[in-house]
Symmetry: C2
Amino acid sequence: MKHLLLLIALSGSLCFVQAQDTVIKEDFKPSTKNQPQQEYPQVNSQGYARFKIIAPAADSVRVSLGLGGQGGTKLLKAEDGSWMGTTAGPMDEGFHYYNINIDGGKFNDPGALNYYGSTRWESGIEIPAHDQDFYALKDVPHGHVQQVLFPSPSTQTSRRAFVYTPPGYYENPSLRYPVLYLQHGWGEDETAWSNQGHANLIMDNMIAEGKTKPFIIVMTYGMTNEVRMGGMRNFKIEPFQTVLINELIPYVDSKFRTIADQQHRAMGGLSMGGMETKTITLGNPDVFSHYALLSGGTYAPDDVNANKSKIKLIFLSAGSKERPDGVRNAAAALKEAGFNAVSYVSEGTGHEFQTWRRSLRELAPLLFKE
Amino acid sequence: MKHLLLLIALSGSLCFVQAQDTVIKEDFKPSTKNQPQQEYPQVNSQGYARFKIIAPAADSVRVSLGLGGQGGTKLLKAEDGSWMGTTAGPMDEGFHYYNINIDGGKFNDPGALNYYGSTRWESGIEIPAHDQDFYALKDVPHGHVQQVLFPSPSTQTSRRAFVYTPPGYYENPSLRYPVLYLQHGWGEDETAWSNQGHANLIMDNMIAEGKTKPFIIVMTYGMTNEVRMGGMRNFKIEPFQTVLINELIPYVDSKFRTIADQQHRAMGGLSMGGMETKTITLGNPDVFSHYALLSGGTYAPDDVNANKSKIKLIFLSAGSKERPDGVRNAAAALKEAGFNAVSYVSEGTGHEFQTWRRSLRELAPLLFKE
């Protein structure tokens, strides 16, 4: 079926090829997250993705992306021995993880760059987004993303974190900066917000446009992946809480020009990182003053009433496809209870990185307003 | 044959299993460059590597590593549907790139981390080395590795570089540091010296032991991969030379506390990065004062006589398996001509990263001696 689809689309004729009544536009271009010089995978302006895999003697090749209920996208063998196919429908805007099943084994697409998610280095693909400009690489002053190795006696090793220092950090050695501690989700690691999220580029662009004050962002591994996806009730916050509060924050405050007090320290996280944020902020009201849960739960007034005077912002976001009334209602209840609470819903996306890139874009201007 | 080898090795009996007369020690452990929680690939104390790939319906699975002339290591299907095999002989100490051929297609090993080489993100494996301590992650003060995006009008984009700032950089804001510009080889990119080379850990450890003065290392993409491996005669140095001299050096000197003069600026590179180093240093004698070619060619006295007073060090290294007399003889001739020339030969390695890790270890203490 898909082979037929490809032939019809290539011939340029207008016809109804799917129950969806959509003509697939043949404006496919290599995904911006391909390896250098790799033509495939490709994406078009409507959000379709097209794959090409070389495995001449394979019996079956399937891509994990595509209409969920249909088990991904089955590729068909072309005359030259390559396997090709196009998703049956368009995908949500933004970044997606995927992998390839070849004869029953899971492998990555050699055409794509790799991104850590679902506890493995997956392939990644970027679907064009109408608002993609806000995370584009532009000719503006850029911050630095610093890989640091901080001592962690509690885990008996040096642990890695990435620290974004904003443009101007080096030119203004007398300035000190507030800090956002920003966590990834289950299955991910400390590279997620930079590689998948483009947090540094989002910040660079907003700072250049004067949309946010500059601040430091710290991104470390939230120790999320020891539990399996369905095993959240077994998750214990104490090990990561110890690393964060006792080891990482002191390290950052000693090596970077931070404003090292509660009023100038924020914590946020996506998905399971939001769950961690909620637990840690509630357990440490003298450490953080700005709280952000991105597709990561909500606070109720009862959770936070005891510390109202210390909490400057509660930010709750979700994609429009993941029951957004949860965050809207929670923010309304918090506002009613006297908190500076904001909800944000990303239109047309679900539990995925475009929701979280946009959430950071909405969150940043709200942080650290005196 | 290899299946038999595995059975015999596992049974622990002493016997001659190969023409090599070597008993394979069953002390295999997961490679230190595996993805989190992945058991395979594994390596033993003798340098053998063992692989396990899940691809139940595949017809053939082959690993690109193993005795060169034998075309890698063919895996055999075990009862549980996994494919397994062990290299026919031991491998050189240190880091190796590899990939997996499944039914005629090239893919990565899902158990291994990825490293950029041969113009693709390859799988990587680490063979234990008798001297591996010098690049180990230790409980010493660590430098930061900063990802920077510097403006490059000549290539109409912002380009990436990684800048290693040594431990103490933040604690001593009045100190300024010399700089080593360190290039990768053909097929690699700006991540090579950090990810494959562990340059930051080598420096952290030597600084902790007082074996080298601290300095900054800058690692950017040398624009090597537009030419194919055999197409060196088509390579033009001018684009990269322009990026390095006109764009990157000024950026580094403006954002970091460098000692921004010729006497405190070094350039080095491995393989094709050495070729670039030779060309650029000879063409810009007022920019660099310390030159290092790592498995990357040599200088003759005639190349450098005109600028003798400006050149403080010429360092030439090679692996013992890659005609090391070249660097020994060249250094001797340079010394005879009055230069501070040093050669270093890495024992038991060839054109591979262990040679270059060791070369950096030998080079660093020689740099920037007043």
